[in-house]
Symmetry: C2
Subunit: 219 residues, 2 copies
DNA sequence: ATTCAGTTGTGACGCTATTCACAGGATAAG
DNA sequence: CTTATCCTGTGAATAGCGTCACAACTGAAT
C-alpha cells in the first residue's frame, strides 16, 4: 500500500502551478545573466506576494541567502529536481484537429523533461502525417506507440463524445495523466490524474468579471 | 422580491466558473427534454457536491422546488440573466497563429451572448482573410473595428513579446476583459479584467501529479 | 388529514491557502 | 568589531471556500 512514496508531504496544486511559473521566469533571468533574485522580485513579476513565493519555495530543496536572495542557477536546479521526473516524461496529443494541431506544434521538442512525441487521430487525412517533427498515428496504434515511446501523459483534444473512449484507450495503454480540453468530465480510475481545461468557461468568466469592472468606471 | 441592483455582493471566481459549467449542462438536459433536475444530479455530472451546487445557485435569481428540484428552463434563464450581458458581448481574437486560428474557428458564431466577431494580426498572409465567417483585420484597425463592432473582450494569442503592446492597444480601444494565452503577466489598469490561461503550467501540473499516482515506474 | 420520503436553502463549521509579522542571519560600511 | 539594513524561513493569524447538517417545505400515498 503505497501512498505518495516519492513525496513525503501533501502539496497544494496551486503551489505546483506557481512553481512552474517561477521556473519559467528563472529561464529568462538566466538568459539575462542575473545571478541572484529576491522573493519580492519573483513576486513582482508573477503577481503573487513575496510571502507566497517564499512559502512555495519551502517545498523545494533550496536555501536562499538572507542577503543576496536566491541563487538563480541553484534555484532552477532545485525546482527542476522537485517538479520534473529525472528521466523526463513523454506526452501524446490525441485529436489532431484545430486545437490539437496547435498543441502539437507548440509543445513538440520544447522542453527536454516534458516532450510531446506523438499525435493520434482517426481521420485518414491526418494519420501518418508528420507535424512539427511529430508523427501522427491512428488510434489503433495507441497501445503500441505509448509502450514503445514510454508515453505517460496525454493531451485530449477530441470532440466531446469521443473524449471518454479516447481517455479509456490511453489509460489502458498506460497513460497516467490527462490534460482534457473537451467539455466533459472524464471518469477515470484513481491512479490517473486528470486536469480539465475548459476554455469556454474561462471566456465566460472573463466576460462576467469584465462587466463588473466596467460598471465601476463612472464616465 | 429581488431587484437587480448592481452586483453588490462579492462573488467568488470559482462560483462563476461552476455556473458556466451548470449552464452548459442545462443545454444538454434541455435537448433531452428533461424538465426538472436536482442539485445532486447536477453534482453527479459535474463532479462537485450537491451542497456546492445549491450554494452556487444561491447567487442567481432562482427557486428550486423542494420536491421536483429545479425547473430546467427557469434555471437556464436565471443563470443566463446572471451570467450574461442582456445585449451580449463581442469578442476578438488577437494573434491568428496556430492557437488563435483554433480559437477563432471554435468560438465564432457559437453563442448568441458571447460571439467572436473579429480577428487581428500583423501578418500580411493572414490579414483580410476570412476564417470561419470571421474577418481578420490588421492590428492598425483595432481602434476602428472594436468601436464599430462594440467589442469588449479579447483573447490574446500572440507571441510573448507582443502580448503587452497588443493588450495596450486593445485596452485603449475600449476592451475591458482579456483572456491571455501568452506566458507573460500583463500590466493593465484596474478597470480591466485579465485572466491568464497558461497551458504549459497546466501540462506541468498534470505531469507532476500523474507521477504521484504512478509511483515507481521501474520494471 | 396525516404521514412519509426526499428535496431545497442556509447558518454554522472546518479546512486549507494565504498573509502577517518577526526572529535570526548575511553583508557592507564605518 | 559594531551597526544598519534588508533579506529569508516560518509559526501564528486570517481569510476564503467548501461542506455539514438540519429546519422548512412539497407532493404523493393512504
Ligand atoms: N478549438 C478550440 O479553440 C477549442 C476551444 C474550447 C474547447 N475545445 C474542445 O477541444 C476539442 C477539440 O477541438 P477542435 O477545435 O480541435 O476540434 P476539431 O474538430 O478541429 O478536431 C477534433 C479532432 O479529433 C479527431 N477525432 C474525432 N474522433 C476521434 C476519436 N475517437 N479518436 C481520436 N481522434 C478523434 C478528429 O479527426 C479531429 O481531427 C473539442 O472537444 C472542443 O470542444 C476546442
Ligand atoms: N499553440 C499552443 O498550443 C500554445 C500553447 C501554450 C501557449 N501558447 C501561447 O499562445 C501564443 C500564440 O501561440 P501560437 O502557437 O498560436 O503562436 P504562432 O506563432 O503560431 O502565432 C502567433 C501569431 O501572432 C501574430 N503576431 C505576432 N506579433 C503580433 C502583434 N504584435 N500583433 C498581433 N499579432 C501578432 C503572428 O503573425 C502569428 O500569426 C504564444 O504566446 C504562445 O506562447 C500557445
Amino acid at each position: 500500500m503505497r501512498v505518495f512514496t516519492t513525496v513525503d508531504q501533501r502539496i497544494a496544486e496551486q503551489t505546483i502551478g506557481r512553481l512552474s511559473l517561477y521556473r519559467r521566469l528563472l529561464d529568462t533571468l538566466m538568459r539575462d545573466c542575473v545571478e541572484h533574485v529576491y522573493s519580492h522580485q519573483l513576486a513582482e513579476k508573477t503577481g503573487f506576494t513575496s510571502a507566497q513565493v517564499r512559502r512555495d519555495l519551502m517545498a523545494v530543496d533550496t536555501a536562499g541567502n538572507t542577503r543576496r536572495g536566491y541563487d538563480v542557477g541553484e534555484l532552477t536546479r532545485a525546482i527542476d529536481d522537485y517538479l520534473y521526473a529525472p528521466s523526463g516524461q513523454q506526452v501524446a496529443v490525441v485529436g489532431i484537429g484545430n486545437l490539437g494541431r496547435a498543441l502539437l506544434t507548440f509543445f513538440s521538442g520544447r522542453r527536454p523533461k516534458l516532450s510531446v512525441v506523438a499525435g493520434f487521430d482517426v481521420d485518414e487525412q491526418v494519420v501518418d502525417r508528420v507535424i512539427h517533427g511529430c508523427r501522427v498515428y491512428h488510434m489503433d496504434e495507441v497501445d503500441r506507440v505509448v509502450a514503445e515511446d514510454e508515453i505517460t501523459l496525454a493531451m485530449l483534444a477530441v470532440p466531446s463524445e469521443a473524449a471518454q473512449p479516447a481517455a479509456d484507450v490511453c489509460i489502458a495503454a498506460g497513460v497516467s495523466g490527462i490534460l482534457n480540453f473537451a467539455p466533459v468530465r472524464l471518469k477515470v480510475p484513481p491512479s490517473v490524474y486528470v486536469s480539465h481545461v475548459d476554455l469556454t468557461m474561462y471566456l465566460e468568466m472573463v466576460a462576467f468579471f469584465a462587466r463588473q469592472t466596467d460598471g465601476d468606471k463612472g464616465d
